[in-house]
Symmetry: C2
Subunit: 185 residues, 2 copies
């Protein structure tokens, strides 16, 4: 089987990391998870390809969500000043979306700062299946949501909807600003 993108070594690292964060010995963790310590030893050394149940049991015993074991780690402090972000200009002139926090390798969300100076609106084609969009309006009024049931929003309002269907974003005032979280699941 192709192991190029396989998370086996990531799992190995995560197991070690989480285990000594919790402060458990290998033997102790194995006992709590109900698996043989030989098995755990091999997994932590990078050998082997655990079954879902085995990994699940380890996640439970460690008190961490399953996903924590299959993709990695830790972020630094990061600041993006207003106007600094790498802006994605649309061919529709007035729309600008700044990607202020891109999805790290296997994370699950992007954060955009969307500015729009009123327009006939922006229609978006569906994104990846499972995507969810979250909007929080900062300034101005906005019409957004699934193409067949858009919602009008004002400052401070929040809206979420599936991103894997056609949807739209339309400024109703000049100079609107919205925070958008695109959640990839």
């Amino acid at each position: 089987m192709d192991r190029s993108s396989a998370p086996l070594d990531v799992i190995a690292a995560a197991l070690r990391r989480e285990r000594d964060r919790v402060g458990l010995s290998l033997s102790e963790l194995a006992k709590r998870a109900g698996i043989a310590k030989s098995t755990l030893s091999q997994l932590e050394s990078g050998a082997g390809n655990p079954s879902v149940e085995t990994l699940w049991a380890l996640g439970v015993a460690l008190g961490v969500p399953f996903s924590r074991l299959v993709d990695p780690p830790r972020p630094p402090v990061r600041v993006v000043r207003f106007g600094e972000g790498p802006y994605l200009h649309s061919e529709q002139s007035s729309y600008r979306a700044a990607l202020i926090s891109a999805c790290p390798p296997s994370a699950r969300r992007d954060i955009y700062l969307v500015t729009m100076s009123s327009d006939n609106g922006r229609h978006s084609v569906p994104h990846m299946p499972g995507t969810v969009e979250h909007l929080v309006v900062s300034t101005g009024r906005v019409l957004a949501g699934p193409a067949d049931e858009p919602v009008e929003l004002g400052p401070g309002d929040y809206l979420s909807y599936p991103g894997d269907v056609p949807h739209l974003y339309q400024a109703l005032d000049p100079d609107t600003v919205t925070v958008m979280v695109m959640e990839h699941v």
Copy 2:
């Protein structure tokens, strides 16, 4: 092994669901994932306990993140009007954080709308390990970040930092509003 909380049936259901969402036949999906269709057949029928590699390959072939296969489903459209959220009042009077999008059962982020009318600031104890906080300031100036290296922010500015260390949030102007995404992994 204890199968009470094991996600095997969830996986089976997810595989079927995702497969016919994508519109692939069992044979076709097996081919693309590089696994035997007999294997896939058993998995979809709920039998068996796939290895991580097998499940990973299926996730890649389906174009869905790994986690999508071990925990379920889909969100509706949801709106929270400004001021409607369930506010978490702090003992420090001027701080209000509205949880506008709570973390679904096994998701990975909460979204808050934080309003603060200037104060001597709010110090927060560390959250769960692995937590990351993201801030986008809507109005006013804010001093926020890890307790040992806070950053001053203005409207539109973005900041992220580990949430599992002591950190602070302090309004520098009256009536500040910030969108905060608390990411649990």
